[in-house]
Every structure is written in structure tokens, then in C-alpha cells.
């Protein structure tokens, strides 16, 4: 038995976790204002971890009152205690106290959305049956009242048998009362059982006779409804032998030939409708200004045009707003490097600091502007309820390529950068869909491919007109389209082979538009940035330092002193591990028309594809006129020992295709590892994409040169 205080946290944070008076599970429907309330109650005293073996995040926060420290565990949103997704399964496992590393909750904070009592009460009724001390927080009261719903909280509390506290998380109204109630949760009497289904109660009592260990009613209920599934085996183990052999017969008698979940849902919702008639004075209606916006966006064509407009703004912002900041980060990191050489002189140590460490940190931090801007938009869109609507509008189109509507945002985001795009796949509930989207996302033409495209196109594609279009522009467009087609094909193939499986249930809740809470947005944004720096940043940094070492060692010591700097750098490159590696793998890339210089530049650009431009700049900087010519000029005049040109048009087209496909990006690999929680997928993605790039480049060169 492990306790929650054993979760590894940095030493400076441990002080807050020394004494915990009670652990409370925060449970509610998705979009019930649960996270906003959690953030309000715990503020910045929270930490994000992972549940063991899965990618679902574990949010734990502390609530401090004068004399108590209460731990709140913000569980993934769920609609029922019969889990349908990984997130819901985690919530249910924590509630029942069978999640490794998380101690069984001492009580439950049930979050009930006043504007959606119908679905909310369905869940809360099941929570009450847990027979744990329970407190209900009624959120969104202000919104409910604006749309004409009055909730009789006293009557609601009496019907449920638990205290109900109305709160407005945005203004903080009612929070003090709720805090007080949570601090005293251990003294609270567990609610009495609501007997809404007498036959089920009788069946549960029958099964629990002569049980080996005491069983809770809610556990027996789950066993009866969901059957002896894998996650219910713990419950089966507590039954007597007689009861165990009777499970199937008891279930058959209870449900006859109707699916248990269907009968359970009908009986509970019938009860909920009765409760609603008693506690809700008027029927909910869309009466605010938002309803007019909703009505307009609900028309199929304006809705879809609106979606493209919103996506255009997001894409533009990620692309345009991030660029100046990224340029500034680049400038700062190169001037810091310059400063290091100036102060410490030219040595292996200063090169490590400047070209290894500073450049490595720079290559991590440079992603932050894009991640922060994209996530600011995604969180705003999600919290305002628009993200669900976008998924709804695009579902049909995405279904035709084997995905679902929820994949659209990660895919479009990946045109700026696959890293935030892949992080955004969290909105996809189905694991197969999510991985297929992650595999397709890196094919989208990201901003790091542009410098490579720009250099090669400007140097080797003639700027002739095709009709009224420029050939260079057409090639660039072609590369974008090529990426999209490859991504879609990948998703299709994956869904038909390795990720084959039943179509995921598409039942999307479409919440009413609401204004996002800024504190929640800020906390989520901070969390995203932390996760990226901690989990992906370390890998990116390590790879950057390794590649630096490969290019720096061994040193070419016996270079003539009168050599110009460019030629010296090029000769150092030739005799470094990187240059040697380029020569070793040259035969592999020979059929693509690459010489050892191109090969070593491609190897060096493993951590970040745009690095290939800089390495090509170094490695081709040999000769008398190196300083005069531009990089594209030098590439154009590069020759093999036999005098033939290296960069022929078929070779360049092949190189473009290679860079359109290959996954030369340590950040993307690190984030795939992080988001899939295994090395299997990043290794597969890298191998698959590199193989496609290789074959594409091979075909282009061989067919073009023939």
C-alpha cells in the first residue's frame, strides 16, 4: 500500500506535503467547471504527474484552512461510473481506491453544473451510492440564473442525502462555505443509499451473502452492471464461492435480454427527470446573447466558414507572432555564444559551453513561443466550448480519412510546428485515433522545413513563370500538398493495419459558449510549458550536446596556421566524427546522389532539420572564393572529385522530398515519446518517415538522372 505522500516531488516542494488530513476526489462531468473550481480551491499549490503506465495526467492540489491540510485529486471528467474511455477508467479506479500509487479517497467532492443538472445528477446519484462522505458543489449558478433556471439547493440536498453548496468559481462566491465543508469531510456522515432500483439492491444483497471481505454496495452494483470484467476481478475475489458461481444467473435475472448499461441508464435517468421536476423551477433555455451566436454558428455553412476563419487566425498568430520572439531567442543565444568565445578564448570548453550548452538550451527554448501561443488559443477555444463545435463540424471530412473530428486542431496546428500539434492530440479520447493523428502530424509542413525548402528552391528551381504562377512558388505549394497527402495516407494505413479497431463512439458534448476563466487559462498554460521543458526539453538538450561533440571531436590539430577560417572549419568538419560518419554512410546515400558532405549534414540535422542549412554552409565553405559566394552559389558550384556537379536538379528534388518526409526533429521524437508513453512509437515514426524519404529521394534521383 503506497500513500500519496510518496509521489516523487522536488525536495523544495516536499514541505507542503508533510501532513494531510484527508484526501478528496474531485469528480464531475467533463465541462462541469470542475477544473476551474479545483484551481480556485488550490491556487498554485498543485502539481502535475502521471498515473502509472498511462499518459493521463494526475492533478493534485492542496487546500489549506486554519488547522487542516486537505489534498484534492482532480480526476478526469466522467459521465458515469461505468467507464468508456481510459480517462473515465482512471477516474473510476481512483474513486474505488484501486489505482496504484494513489490512496483511496476519504471523501468525494462532486461537481454539479447547474446548467446541466440532467447529466450531472446521473453521475452524482452514482457517487452517492459509494457511501463515502460526499459534498456537492453546484457550479455555474450565475449562468443558470441568467438562462432562467432556479435550483432549489435545499430540496436537492434532501433528495440526494448530501450537503449542496452553490458556488460561483469565477467570482469566488460560496467558496468559503465549501472550503469549510471540505475541511470537515471526515466528520461528515456518509449518505444513505438512494433506493432507485430495488431489484438491483436485492440482487446486490444476495451476492454479498457470506462474502470473504466486506463489500461496498457501489462495488457490487458495478459488478452487476458491467459484469466480471478485468477491472472488476478485485470485487469478484471478495465474493463467496457460491456467489461467484451465481453472478451470471443473477445478472440474467436482473437484466433479462436487455443490455445492462441500457437498462441502468433508463432507470437512473427516469429518476433524474423526477428530481429535476422537483428542484428546478423552470426549464433551461438558451436566452442570452450567446444563443444568437450559437444559432448563427449552427447553420452548417456559416459554421464551417467561421471555423476556417478561426483556424486561419490561430495559424497566422502561431506563425507570425512567434517568429519575432524566436528570432530574438536565436539572436540572444548566438550573442551569448560569441561572448563566451570572447571571454574564454577558443578552447574545447568554451566550444562546449557556446556551441553545445547555449545552443542546446536555445534549441529547447526556441519552441516555447509557438507552444505558448498555440496553447493559449487551444485552451481559450476549449474552455469557451468552441473546440467541441469545431470537431463536430469537421467530423464528416475527417472520418473519410479514418480519423474523427477531434483530429482537425492537432493537424492544422502541425503546419506551424508538430510539437504543440502532437501535444494538442490530448483532446482525442480514442487511443487509436490519437496515435494515428500523432503519426500523421509530423508530415505537415512545419516552419522548420521552410528554411531548407527556401534554400534549395531558391538555388535550384528556376524562377520561370508557369501561366501566371511562379515555378518556385508552385514547387513550395507542391511540397505542402505532398505533406498533407502523405499525412492522410499514413493515418489511413495506420487505422487499417496496426491501429485497426472498432470505430470509436462519436458522442460529443456540445456545451454552450461561455467566457473562459483567466486564472484557469493561465494555470493550464503554465502547466503545458512546464511539461514541455521538463519532459521534452531534456531530450532535445542532450541530443544537441551529442551532435556538438560529434562535430567537434577529434580535433584537426595539424592544420596550417595560414589557413582562412572557413576552410579550417570545413577541414575540421571533414575529420570530425560527423565527417567520418558522413563518409561511412556515403555508400548508403550514393544512390540518392549525395556525397559525404550532404550525408554528414543530414546526420547533423538529426536534432533539428533546419540545422542542415548551417552545416551545408560550413562544409561547402572551402576554396578561395568561399567568402564571396552565397551559400546557394557555393552549392551550385559544388563538384565531386571527378568534376561532376553534386547538386543536380533530380538530386535536389530528391533532397526536398527527403526533407518533406523525414523526421529530423529531436523535439518531435521526444514529445511523441512523452505523449505515447513508450519509445516504440517515436522509433517507428522515425524509421517509417526516414524510409519513405529515402525511397522518395531514390526514385526522384534515379528516374530524373536516367
Amino acid at each position: 500500500m503506497t500513500s500519496s505522500t510518496e509521489i516523487r516531488v522536488p525536495a523544495n516542494e516536499i514541505t507542503v506535503a508533510k501532513r494531510i488530513d484527508a484526501s478528496i476526489a474531485v469528480v464531475g462531468n467533463p465541462n462541469s467547471g470542475k477544473s476551474t473550481l479545483f484551481n480556485r480551491l488550490t491556487g498554485l499549490k498543485q502539481r502535475i504527474g502521471n498515473y502509472p503506465g498511462v499518459t493521463v495526467e494526475k492533478h493534485i492540489g492542496l487546500l489549506k484552512t486554519d488547522d487542516k491540510v486537505i489534498e484534492l485529486v482532480d480526476l478526469p471528467g466522467t459521465h458515469s461510473l461505468s467507464a468508456h474511455s481510459l480517462e473515465e477508467q482512471i477516474a473510476v479506479d481512483v474513486i474505488f481506491g484501486r489505482m496504484a500509487g494513489t490512496k483511496a479517497p476519504d471523501g468525494v467532492l462532486a461537481v454539479l453544473d447547474a446548467t446541466n443538472l440532467y447529466q450531472g445528477l446521473f453521475l452524482v446519484q452514482q457517487l452517492v451510492e459509494l457511501e463515502l462522505p460526499t459534498v456537492v458543489a453546484l457550479t455555474m449558478n450565475d449562468a443558470a440564473e441568467k438562462s432562467g433556471i432556479q435550483v432549489d439547493t435545499a430540496e436537492l440536498g434532501a433528495l440526494l442525502g448530501v450537503p449542496v453548496y452553490p458556488v460561483v468559481a469565477t467570482t469566488g462566491a460560496g467558496l468559503d462555505m465549501l472550503r469549510h465543508a471540505l475541511a470537515g469531510i471526515r466528520e461528515l456522515t456518509p449518505p444513505r443509499r438512494v433506493r432507485i432500483w430495488p431489484e438491483l439492491t436485492a440482487a446486490a444483497e444476495r451476492l454479498s451473502e457470506d462474502a470473504r471481505e466486506p463489500l461496498r454496495f457501489a462495488e457490487l452494483e458495478r459488478l452487476l452492471i458491467d459484469g466480471p470484467t478485468e477491472s472488476n476481478q478485485l470485487i469478484v475475489g471478495k465474493l463467496s464461492d457460491v456467489a461467484r458461481s451465481e453472478i451470471d444467473a443473477v445478472r440474467a435475472g436482473l437484466f433479462e435480454d436487455e443490455p445492462p448499461i441500457a437498462r441502468d441508464a433508463r432507470i437512473r435517468y427516469t429518476w433524474v427527470r423526477g428530481v429535476l421536476g422537483k428542484v428546478q423551477k423552470s426549464a433551461p433555455a438558451y436566452v442570452t446573447w450567446r444563443s444568437k451566436v450559437t444559432d448563427f454558428l449552427n447553420l452548417p455553412v456559416p459554421g464551417t466558414i467561421g471555423l476556417f476563419f478561426v483556424m486561419a487566425i490561430v495559424f497566422q498568430a502561431v506563425f507570425a507572432w512567434a517568429t519575432p520572439v524566436m528570432d530574438a531567442i536565436d539572436a540572444v543565444s548566438s550573442s551569448l555564444s560569441g561572448l563566451v568565445f570572447e571571454r574564454l578564448g577558443d578552447s574545447a570548453f568554451s566550444s562546449l559551453i557556446a556551441d553545445g550548452v547555449i545552443a542546446g538550451v536555445g534549441s529547447v527554448v526556441v519552441f516555447l513561443p509557438q507552444i505558448l501561443i498555440l496553447f493559449l488559443f487551444i485552451i481559450l477555444l476549449e474552455d469557451s466550448g468552441y473546440l467541441a463545435r469545431a470537431a463536430y463540424l469537421m467530423d464528416r471530412a475527417m472520418r473519410s480519412v479514418g480519423l474523427s473530428g477531434q483530429s482537425i486542431i492537432p493537424m492544422i496546428s502541425s503546419f506551424a510546428c508538430a510539437v504543440p500539434g502532437i501535444m494538442a492530440t490530448r483532446v482525442i479520447p480514442n487511443r487509436r485515433d490519437r496515435i494515428a493523428t500523432i503519426m500523421a502530424a509530423p508530415f505537415m509542413t512545419c516552419s522548420a522545413r521552410l528554411p531548407v525548402y527556401a534554400l534549395l528552391i531558391a538555388a535550384f528551381v528556376p524562377a520561370t513563370k508557369v501561366g501566371f504562377l511562379n515555378l518556385q512558388g508552385l514547387v513550395l505549394l507542391g511540397l505542402y500538398l505532398f505533406g498533407i497527402v502523405m499525412g492522410i495516407l499514413t493515418a489511413l494505413i495506420m487505422r487499417k493495419t496496426a491501429l485497426r479497431g472498432p470505430k470509436p463512439p462519436f458522442a460529443l458534448m456540445l456545451p454552450e459558449f461561455r467566457r473562459p476563466n483567466l486564472q484557469t487559462v493561465a494555470i493550464q498554460l503554465l502547466g503545458r510549458a512546464k511539461v514541455f521543458l521538463k519532459r521534452a526539453g531534456t531530450v532535445i538538450f542532450a541530443v544537441a550536446v551529442v551532435v556538438w561533440a560529434l562535430a567537434y571531436f577529434p580535433r584537426a590539430d595539424d592544420l596550417p596556421a595560414d589557413l582562412d577560417a572557413n576552410t579550417a572549419a570545413a577541414m575540421q568538419m571533414e575529420q570530425s566524427w560527423l565527417g567520418r560518419a558522413g563518409k561511412v554512410v556515403e555508400p548508403v546515400f550514393e544512390p540518392l546522389g549525395w556525397d559525404w558532405r550532404v550525408s554528414s549534414a543530414v546526420i547533423a540535422s538529426f536534432p533539428a532539420r533546419e540545422v542542415v542549412v548551417a552545416v551545408l554552409g560550413t562544409v561547402y565553405a572551402v576554396g578561395d572564393d568561399a567568402d564571396e559566394g552565397t551559400l546557394s552559389g557555393r552549392l551550385k558550384s559544388a563538384t565531386r572529385p571527378d568534376g561532376s556537379k553534386v547538386f543536380t536538379l533530380p538530386m535536389v528534388i530528391g533532397l526536398l522530398i527527403f526533407y518533406a518526409c523525414c523526421l529530423q526533429c529531436a523535439a518531435t521524437l521526444a514529445i511523441i515519446r512523452r505523449e505515447t508513453n513508450s519509445w516504440r512509437w517515436p522509433i517507428f515514426a522515425w524509421t517509417y518517415m526516414t524510409a519513405i524519404g529515402y525511397v522518395g529521394a531514390l526514385l526522384a534521383f534515379q528516374l530524373g538522372s536516367a
Binding site: 461505468s82 440532467y118 427527470r273 426549464a283 433551461p284 463540424l393 458534448m509
Partner: protein, 83 residues
């Protein structure tokens, strides 16, 4: 169970109906029942995406989108004519 009358899929935009029977063999339909689409509940067809699929329904103030293939499993008795 055979569906005889109109279904959620045949409700017109703006029209309301009460769910009368459900073909609940499909686990995806059961999931929709967990979300509140059960016998006796009144729903309104609020909108649809381009091509009429998926469709959005509202029940007790909350919106749920479902695909046409699933909407066909819910038999409804229409209330009013819609627009």
C-alpha cells in the same frame, strides 16, 4: 427490435420529439444512453453539419452531437411540426 416510426435522424431542424424506443444492441448506442438519450426524454434537433451529418440534439439544455448512423437507432414521437 425493429424501428417503425420516425427516428432522431428524421427530425427536422428545430423540431422536438420524445424518444419512444431504442435499438440498444450497439455499444455505441448504449454510450449515447449513458449520456441521457433514453426512453421518455424530450430532445430537440438543434443543428447539423454540412451534409446533415453529424447532427446536434439538445436535451434539458445540453447539446450532444451524434452521427446519422447512430441517430437512426432512436425511435421518436415528434412534438410539433418544426420549421
Amino acid at each position: 427490435m425493429a424501428i417503425i416510426g420516425g427516428t432522431l435522424a428524421t427530425l427536422k431542424r428545430g423540431q422536438k420529439g420524445v424518444i419512444r424506443a431504442i435499438n440498444s444492441a450497439d455499444p455505441q448506442v448504449q454510450r449515447l444512453m449513458v449520456l441521457g438519450l433514453v426512453e421518455g426524454t424530450e430532445v430537440e434537433h438543434a443543428s447539423s453539419a454540412i451534409g446533415g451529418d453529424p447532427m446536434e440534439f439538445r436535451l434539458f439544455g445540453c447539446g450532444i452531437s451524434l452521427r446519422l448512423e447512430h441517430a437512426r437507432h432512436f425511435e421518436v414521437v415528434p412534438v410539433g411540426a418544426g420549421d
